[in-house]
Symmetry: C2
């Protein structure tokens, strides 16, 4: 039997998992953007203020990646996760700015065993992040694969 806390059978419809919090640092925003998304409003406070984002704002892909870290810490690293085939959708609802404190939750939408691979199951969820003012900044729906407790032996 797997010694992980979370296997496929633990992730049923309606379950809500707290994603903890993440403080977004200016240094991290600039570091990520320098490598992957060097648009001016992700690199420079003044350029951010001059843009519709209204401040030094994280790349949307950085927000996705920070969410992934929160998801790893809250669930995946202590689970039988086998990865995911993609993203159903993601929404960058408001800019994520330097100094923001993100918090959020994961809600399991559905859960079904694989028809072709015994011991594997698909879990769909909606993730929601909000900033310290309670404003929603990010929403995502996708499906992840997990082994059953027995298959993870």
């Amino acid at each position: 039997m797997s010694t992980k806390t979370w296997a496929f059978e633990d992730l049923g419809e309606g379950l809500v998992i707290d994603l903890g919090t993440k403080t977004v640092l200016a240094r991290e925003i600039i570091e990520f953007a320098s490598e992957f998304d060097a648009q001016p409003f992700h690199l420079d406070e003044e350029a951010g203020k001059a843009s519709i984002l209204d401040g030094l704002s994280a790349s949307g892909w950085h927000t996705c990646s920070m969410f992934m870290r929160m998801l790893c810490d809250a669930l995946l690293l202590d689970s039988t996760s086998q990865g995911a085939p993609g993203i159903d959708y993601a929404k960058w609802k408001k800019p994520v700015l330097a100094g923001d404190v993100l918090g959020g939750k994961l809600t399991i939408l559905s859960s079904r065993p694989s028809r072709s691979k015994p011991g594997l199951g698909f879990v769909s969820w909606r993730a929601e992040l909000a900033n310290q003012k309670g404003e929603p900044v990010f929403e995502l729906v996708n499906t992840c694969m997990f082994l059953t407790r027995e298959a993870a032996l």
Copy 2:
């Protein structure tokens, strides 16, 4: 007039933009995963080979971020881009492994002026990345906002 090469009016339906190539390094896979997605198959060659991913494979979010860098270099950094509200969908079609050389293209699906903000327009596209064997590894559809050449003055 904007001195950027690409403004809203240059991005019409049917246009195809080459995204260049990107060689995926093991060091980069591990670095990204250590920060954002520390699942064993993204950190270690042996754990990757033991998983369904069959090798040291990039986090799906790393693939998204590498795509974003390719898109920045091919288009966004020399454009009137104003960011994007989200992702319609993304598919991680095959594992992206250490040593892979990714290449791909962007196809403009539609383009329309904003009804509420003069000088702004929405451009929707499909991005496709394949590896050096020609196998599709990534597909994404989303919509980005661009200023018209005149509005970007």
